[in-house]
Amino acid sequence: MGETLAGRYELVDPLGEGGAGVVWRAWDHRTRRYVAAKVMRQSDAGSLLRFVREQAVRIEHPHVLTPLGWAGEDDRVLLTMPIVSGGSAATLVGDHGALPPVWVATLLDQLLAALEVIHAAGLVHRDVKPANLLLDATGGGLPRVRLADFGVAAAVDQPRLTHVTHAVGTLGYAAPEALTAGWDPDPRADLYGAGLTAVELLTARRPSDATDVAAELVRAEVPVDLARLLLDLTAADPKDRPDSAAAARAALASTGLVARADDDLGAHGVEVFDQLPPLPRGWGSGGPEPAGPHRTAPDATGQVPDAPAAGSPEADPGTDATRTEIGPATREEPRSTRGAGGAPAAVDPPAAPPRRPARPMPRLGLALVTLGTLMVVVAAVLLTR
């Protein structure tokens, strides 16, 4: 018998480990279906804040993956989401290498459609990257993107939740302006992330501060219209980017590369596999099997075995090297000492320092200041305990 949380969600097997907890396949006894459940400890204030933000996102759209609900019990909270079984765009690149332009244009089109509604709702995602583009297991057919992980999404005009000014995002994908102090969330930062994501899908190379996007696109022989749009999206100055996701999407449509049906994809051998492991003993498609002697779900504190990514934007052991290369998948860095002693609620546990300075050079200094600030904040937390 697996552990049941909140009298409702029975944990079946771990699907992966994310930045803010373990993602489980869970059986929802109330709705009688499997869900992905991100289980977090309440002691981690940083994750809790993200959790609050994430569960507040309620957008109904075919390309946006939003939480189903949440529950808290004792020292743990869990956030449930629909299970998405095809891994992420990062998984796809790990399996196939550089993707054909028609695939990338199609994925980018769906991503921009998702960003359109998110931005229309007054939100900025702030962490657009391949590992957050989850995919349905559509095999060789038309892919379906579900933009996930709203843990760091922010309202454009909403007061900050903490006194510490934050820069969030994943190094390498974050827009240059998003890494400067006092930056207010701007939808065009998501367009930058979308552009770099497309570049990575086309080249199978992770972006870094040394990436010469134009040279990479030429080397990958990307069609000129698409390359031009990606250069616009990844412009350092937000003013040089398309005005909106809708405008970028229109430019993308005019390249003629976006597939609308299976046949438009051509025969490239690209396939979005079903990444879900088989259900453990005692579990069937209809839930727990009473005939089974013992169900084998381990308790929620157990180690996560080798399991493919599914249902979780962060759970992508195959190809999401972000965590391993630069610390947590998503970093929240305090940028100001203002309020450091007062409300350090949103500071993540100290992470490995960034592997490289962020995009423009002056940020090396900023990174050092940040590191110093982080240490002060951590000290403040320890002292006030």
Binding site: V93, D95, A204, G269, P277, D306, P308, A321, E325
Partner: protein, 179 residues
Amino acid sequence: MTVERNRAEQVELYGEPLADVFARLTAGLHLSQAGLARAIGMSPPMLSQLGSAHRVKIGNPAVLHRLEALQALLEEVEAGRVGEDELPARIEAVRDSSRTWSTSRLDLAATPAAGTDRDVVEATTVRQLLRAVASGADLRRAADLLHDDVPGLAELVRTYGLGSPEEAAAHLRRHRELF
């Protein structure tokens, strides 16, 4: 039969069927199939497709690079230069290694284990070196290009790049006296 043709193409590209490569690595490094997939950055379903020769080629160069790094690690284990207790950390290091060509590095075996045939060791080094810089298909194309003008070089590329270690060692033995 498609699977047989695919397997033959894998031999051309990688020197042997990928099923053999995967089996040796899982056994020698104590990894599950899923653990191996995770270490090289490929999904388990894709690993299974390649292992069963339903697909021929590893599409992502960085993944191939990590696979080669694991093979090099296995050789070190077999030569007794890496202890079993160091394995988890070494595998983790391969998994975390950078995904770009420019910064990833393939360590060729540095010192031969005692008691091994010098010809075999040296031929293997050349073989690894060729395969580190070019794919099987590249080597074959290069050999074809050289064939008319410099047949000796074409044979060298073909023997060391595409042949078995034994063939390469025999080639070296035949030519050593000319050094």
